[in-house]
């Protein structure tokens, strides 16, 4: 019965094996309790097969559906479609209520990372009150990344994968307005033309003037 039902997205695959691979990946992604790395997913299918191509195909199959396959920091996960948001909204699903100060601090870290506390303060023009960074680290949106290679070796902060995941961002360059701000020179420092703040660097790597904690 299962094989009779026509499912055009799959039927254009010629071999039964290919269909099987898609089914397996679909099942794994559905059953997983967290986003899955491409290389983890590879272990579920034949080594010779390119898991990336299958994932792209699944992504296409689900693109128009009520659930989509999305990619976050090179990890794959099924999510409900964004346009259904209004219909699915649960009774105020306890959106982590951040204070204005915490939200701004989060945003500055996201766009300027790696950022030290004094850089955050320079941009906001006020001292960071106690608990602000703590709250952001507690919800696991911000982490200590490393240290800046300057006197005093201040700790640098950056965002986490959970941050990307929460805001449905594939990677940091997807941050809204990123390009626009960069072009306007608004992600640079003000001290002098020669002094420029580091460009946001992917949270996995270290910037030139940054080193591990």
């Amino acid at each position: 019965m299962r094989d009779e039902s026509p499912s055009s997205n799959v039927t254009h695959l010629t071999s039964a094996e290919r269909i099987e691979n898609l089914r397996i990946l679909e099942a794994v992604l559905f059953a997983a309790t967290r986003p899955m790395q491409t290389k983890e997913l590879q272990t579920y299918i034949n080594v010779d097969e390119d898991v990336g191509r299958y994932l792209k195909e699944l992504e296409g199959i689900y693109a128009s559906r009520g659930i989509n396959l999305v990619r976050i920091a090179d990890k794959w996960v099924f999510r409900t479609a964004e346009d259904l948001s209004g219909l699915l909204q649960r009774q105020a699903a306890a959106a982590t209520k951040l204070s204005q100060a915490a939200l701004e601090t989060l945003v500055i870290i996201a766009y300027h990372q790696p950022a030290t506390r004094s850089e955050i303060e320079e941009i906001r023009g006020v001292a960071t009150s106690k608990g602000t960074l703590d709250v952001l680290m507690e919800v696991e949106w911000v982490r200590m990344r490393g240290r800046r290679k300057v006197p005093g070796r201040p700790i640098t902060y950056g965002t986490t994968e959970q941050f990307l995941s929460h805001f449905s961002l594939e990677n940091l360059s997807d941050l809204p307005g990123m390009e626009e701000f960069k072009e306007a020179g608004l992600l640079e420092g003000t001290i002098a033309a020669s002094f420029s703040m580091p460009k946001p660097s992917p949270s996995g790597e270290f910037a030139d003037d940054e080193e591990p904690l």
Partner: protein, 278 residues
Amino acid sequence: MSQPPTYSEQDSPPFEEDDREVLGLVIDIEGFEGPLDLLLTLARKQKLDLTQIEILPLVEQYLAFIHQAKSLKLDVAADYLVMAAWLAYLKSRLLLPPDPDDGEEELSGDELAALLAHRLKRLEAMRKASKMLLEQPQLGIDVFGRGLPEGLEIVACEGSPDYDTTLYQMLKAYAGLRQIQAVKVVTVKKRKVWSLKDARKKLEKMLQMNFEWTTIDSYLVAYLADPEERRTALAASFGASLEMVREGHAEIRQDGSYTPLYLRAVTPEKSLNRKGDA
């Protein structure tokens, strides 16, 4: 330009999305996230397009705002005053012709103004980014993951489990343990403090009818034995004595630096004469 800008609710352009009351009767420094935020709000009021901000009028507005806050006897936090001082300096740099003797390192008024404008634009950009970020579909609010994931069946293999502990969790645990030792409740012992009023009352009592020059110390001899009280007694009495001299009830004399202070009461006639002289 010399006319400080006046504000009323009628002529204020509508805020883009900021409903904080800037001026008018409500002056609420608490509502601002620091002096830069206040400047930004003022700049927005001036022009929605921040690329066109005019720094000088903005400086005037900020200074007027702080001045108004002070005249209403509101406590203005120190960092707002520091910013006011800096803006006053900027204003003078903008208005006065550049000093040719200035070192090359010194930034010109225009350069300083450009830096300030840049900082405001940058803060504005981050504000905008905050809003845009919140408009992103959020997990658990707009988009959802699988509600009932079955989980991948893991057959634990030999070897040690993989702990996904983070540095933060570890630091948090440490802070939790040591917080108890780290934080002490400090109770400050209440110090004996003479108010000016106290001092004056005591001094008046002792000074009564004493028309001879006498050192302040000897008036206070009963109080100076206690080292804790000595300082406050001397300071407050000195203040009170000056007040009494000013009002014409007493006279004070010192023969030279660091020599004893002498005090005596003014006789009623003398006091009258003095008033007549004046």
